[in-house]
């Protein structure tokens, strides 16, 4: 579903964000992307969303080389993806229903489809009874679930969650990842960028560790050694033996 082949990215200001990244993410996988701030995680996501183009190498999404995409085709690539942001990015003047419906309207869905689909998705994230509420009336966890509903509403094949638990309490963090896990169980590919080491360990999924623009470890590779899929990334990377190394100073690593 997502293939990176020798992908490097250098920004015009000379910052080298990624070096020779090669990886494959299959349809239906759940992948955690971890790494310190400035490691290259955001660039990795931007390249998938085609907000940035690689300096060299090739990115293939759904069997299409993104380098071959014309500018006008990029929106259609993004319709395969649902994005969840750390800061939720909800529109405060709209109620919960309209925030979710907004994503459907933006791709030109008709009113009757929106009317049926939005309550269904809000029910899925447990917020059906809060449809009329404004985002400011909701807790951080609820806001993130609205953001998740908005990402889901167009039925994407991939959910990309950029630090989805960064602004919510530990209990709610667990719920959010659990929700993503359920979504993944229905066949949607899920990519989660996170700093929360405990969550990564708890869910036992594939973990890709990015450090200084390179993939330092990819637990997906160890499944061939009959290891538990995704449990061994810390062992693979001796220089990251505990949370303190992976989690930057400004984020608490002790959420357990």
């Amino acid at each position: 579903m997502i293939d990176f082949i020798d992908v490097s990215k250098t920004y015009p200001n000379g910052t080298h964000a990624l070096y020779d990244v090669t990886l494959n993410i299959e349809k239906g996988e759940f992948v955690f992307i971890v790494g310190a701030s400035g490691a290259g995680k955001s660039t990795f996501l931007k390249l998938i969303m085609h907000e940035e183009s690689p300096t060299s190498g090739e990115i293939i999404i759904n069997n299409k080389k993104t380098s071959k995409l014309k500018r006008r085709q990029i929106p259609y690539l993004r319709r395969h993806m649902g994005i969840v942001f750390q800061d939720f990015r909800l529109i405060d003047k709209m109620n919960v229903f309209d925030n979710v419906a907004f994503a459907m309207r933006a791709v030109g869905e008709n009113a009757s489809t929106i009317k049926n689909r939005v309550p269904y998705v809000l029910d899925l994230v447990g917020l059906k009874d809060k449809m009329k509420d404004k985002p400011s009336e909701l807790s951080g966890g609820e806001q993130q679930r609205v953001s998740l509903a908005r990402a889901l509403v167009n039925n994407p094949e991939i959910i990309i969650a950029d630090e989805p638990t960064g602004n919510v309490d530990p209990e709610m963090s667990h719920e959010i990842i659990e929700l993503l896990n359920e979504i993944n169980a229905r066949g949607t590919t899920v990519l989660v960028v996170t700093h929360e080491h405990d969550l990564v360990r708890e869910f036992g999924k594939r973990v890709i560790l990015i450090d200084h623009g390179r993939i330092k470890s990819d637990s997906g590779k160890v499944k061939n050694n009959n290891s538990v899929y995704g449990n061994s990334y810390e062992n693979d990377v001796p220089q990251y033996p505990d949370n303190a190394v992976i989690v930057p100073d400004d984020v608490s690593g002790d959420n357990a």
Partner: protein, 299 residues
């Protein structure tokens, strides 16, 4: 495009939710349109005056003394063949004699017998374009039997100069005002887009096409342009009637009636207002559409 109705509705909502900026834009655009319209109507009226003076600006072409009546007829035909001549009417020496007698009194002419009339036969000609006065006179003088042509070139030249100057000033005033209006609208839309940058970034992240993102802002610009055009039409109609009534009291001058031009002015205002609104929005949103993700939010 699917969701077209939704986008148009969003455009109207934008106008309302940014009503202070919208009112400011409409105000500036109305001023620009009214000033533009005033420049146009002034130019039109001056042109009409120039034309009417031009029509009455008859030039007299005097024939030589020895020209016979028959020759005079042929000379008349030759004059009419000259380009830029609208009409050439024969004015016989007898008619001239009677006219002078009437104007100056019988006493002065009582010693002059009509058969010794010293006045020459002449043609009264009217030219179409007074700016070509000198060239036209030169061509007339080439015709055999022409003695001289009364010198009216100063009046012709001055009237043409005034008309040209007004047209030139009007053109630059209109152009400058149009550019100012374009910038004002562009700034209003930029402010709208800034306040809606979250929505734009979300729209782009879920796969909205550029055309889809652009549409509400184009509608907003066009609504501002259209509203300004309608109000400016009413404004200029009132202004024109008022000013012309005041001018008429000062000088005996027949202005072009409002009903002859108002539809033309209204149509021009609507087209200009909507186009300025459209392009003002288009210019502003181009910058945003090139950006991606957090760049849209200015992060």
């Amino acid at each position: 495009m699917r969701g077209f109705g939704y986008l148009v509705k969003e455009g109207f909502k934008n106008v309302w939710s940014n009503r202070i900026m919208s009112i400011a834009s409409v105000g500036v655009l109305i001023s620009c349109l009214i000033l533009t319209g005033a420049a146009f109507l002034l130019s039109l009226n001056v042109q009409a005056v120039v034309d009417s003076v031009g029509q009455s600006n008859e030039t007299t072409v005097y024939l030589k003394d020895d020209v016979s009546n028959l020759e005079a007829v042929y000379i008349g035909k030759d004059i009419k063949k000259v380009s830029n001549i609208v009409s050439a009417e024969f004015y016989s020496k007898e008619d001239a004699f009677k006219q002078y007698k009437k104007e100056l009194g019988d006493e002065l002419f009582e010693r002059i017998q009509e058969d010794k009339n010293p006045l020459p036969d002449a043609y009264i000609v009217v030219m179409e374009d007074l700016s070509q006065y000198d060239e036209t006179v030169a061509q007339i003088k080439k015709i055999d039997g022409i003695d001289r042509v009364s010198n009216r070139s100063d009046i012709a030249r001055r009237l043409t100069e005034i008309s040209n100057l007004i047209n030139l000033i009007s053109f630059w005033v209109v152009l400058a005002l149009m550019i100012i209006s374009l910038f004002i609208i562009a700034n209003t839309i930029r402010a709208t887009m800034y306040s809606r940058r979250y929505e734009i970034s979300i729209m782009k992240s879920v796969g909205a096409t550029n055309a889809f993102v652009r549409m509400p802002f184009l509608v907003e610009g066009m609504v501002i342009g259209l509203a300004s055009a309608i109000i400016a039409t009413g404004g200029i109609a009132l202004l024109y009637e008022g000013v012309m009534a005041a001018v008429h009291q000062l000088v005996p001058f027949t202005a072009i009636p409002l009903q002859n031009v108002i539809l033309y002015v209204a149509a021009t205002f609507v087209v200009a207002g909507v186009l300025i609104g459209f392009f003002g929005s288009f210019i502003s949103i181009r910058k945003y559409l090139r950006k991606e993700g957090n760049e849209i939010l200015g992060w």
